[in-house]
Symmetry: C2
Subunit: 310 residues, 2 copies
Amino acid sequence: MSKYCFGVDVGGTTVKMGLFSIDGELLDNWEIVTRTENAGVHIVPDIAASILDKIAEKSMAREDIAGVGIGVPGPVDENGIVYKTANTGWGVFNLKKELEDLLDMNVKTGNDANVAALGEMWKGGAQGYQNVVLVTLGTGVGGGIIINGRILTGATGAGGEIGHMHIQDGESEQCGCGNHGCLEQYASATGVVRLANRKLAACDKPSVLRTGEISAKAVFDAVKSGDALAIEIIEEFGEYLGKGLALVGGVCNPEVFVLGGGVSKAGTILIDYVQKYYQKYVFNGSREAKFTLATLGNSAGIYGAAKMVL
Amino acid sequence: MSKYCFGVDVGGTTVKMGLFSIDGELLDNWEIVTRTENAGVHIVPDIAASILDKIAEKSMAREDIAGVGIGVPGPVDENGIVYKTANTGWGVFNLKKELEDLLDMNVKTGNDANVAALGEMWKGGAQGYQNVVLVTLGTGVGGGIIINGRILTGATGAGGEIGHMHIQDGESEQCGCGNHGCLEQYASATGVVRLANRKLAACDKPSVLRTGEISAKAVFDAVKSGDALAIEIIEEFGEYLGKGLALVGGVCNPEVFVLGGGVSKAGTILIDYVQKYYQKYVFNGSREAKFTLATLGNSAGIYGAAKMVL
């Protein structure tokens, strides 16, 4: 009977790592630098070395370790094959096999957003649920979908990529993905700024937002202080995001949507605006879905990664 | 080792039934009338009696029967609980338990569209795939989603209800579900007629469609004969459906979309128009999805129902 497992969350700057008990207690956590040079060839050996160091440091027996879960910032399929990951420099290779060979341990792989959803289900905002959609509202919009307790990976690891659903016709600006009118263009932190700048330019109503730097936080703070123009902006934001999640809801019929990422620091006011428009657009059968905030922050990835091996 | 199983597909007029070998050969099929009176109380006993009759007729041993799968035209959850089904008169009850008690056999339940998707995966247009979206283009638009070989049921049995995704702002007509701008309003057989009538009213271009009755078949036939206005109509239809499936593709990243239902009798020309707009709107990571036509027709339901018990 194993006692421990490791959760690894690979980012473009650092690799976050955690040692967990098999019932989900985070016993230790640390970071190493992500060495992206030379197409990221050092990253996997660095991770393996760090895990072996930790095992030695803690005098752990190998048979007490259930395995290592690892989340990566890009598509990865059910077999552990990574399909190019811009932030790490990686091309196409079998991450699972490479790490298993280095560690002689069971390794499970997943996309970071999907893995974070699993973490929130296990120990975060979606505890007790089995059908979960995690929506990460950061610089972009990421998503992770859990169906009956399992990650929806999809055919090529692109399952849950809700940020690039086409949500608006006639958008003139191009999304980072090359398309026009993606959810991410309106519902991310940069999307809130885009909506704010457009609204400010389109009218001359007074607003605290007309002085100082525009950020998603500044707009939500202005909403909380009752600024009428900021409220208009966040109504628009809420309609885009609520409509987008209504589409996801109609397809997946989740029990709960978990809102995470930097924008979610706005708090429960975010849920108020999103849920209002979710209810407007969603199919009856998926209307009962709950909305909650993510609670694990940047640690969701290591929790979910660890959960994959259990 | 079991040798046989039954597949049952409950419709509002008839219940389709099939006897299968466990490797998927349809050995016998028949129908009984769906008695919807008195809140449909006779339906489940009628099904049980018909199965017991068939077992007696074929002199089958009970231990040779793996069980009975049953698809119903409404939401049904993982536990077999049906949540009101307009076409049958049913309220809320445990279908699985009731049929198991009557038959003393293993029973599996599912929504008819989801079950049909499983049938197409097992023996129809999606053979060899494990991540499948079945799109049924009939009077309405139905959907069934298979992830890793398993039906995406969702929290309350509403998974895969893609016909009611909000796809168009500003629609004045109301959908049967109560919302406005659902995919079903444009991509069903009645949707094609709606688009055709609107196009014919909005311009005075010549078209064979200006004489005779407008139907989805008539519009597709006109496209095949090179009618310019019909082509405009089906371009519009293709854009709605392609955009809708691009949303599903971004969420689920399937290997294949299977197009079924009456509208799919138009043939491969349907795929040409849908795939063109799917490619326009979908996220890169889900661009490789294939499109194919359903091959089991009205039998997809009994195939999928049977597959559930295997």
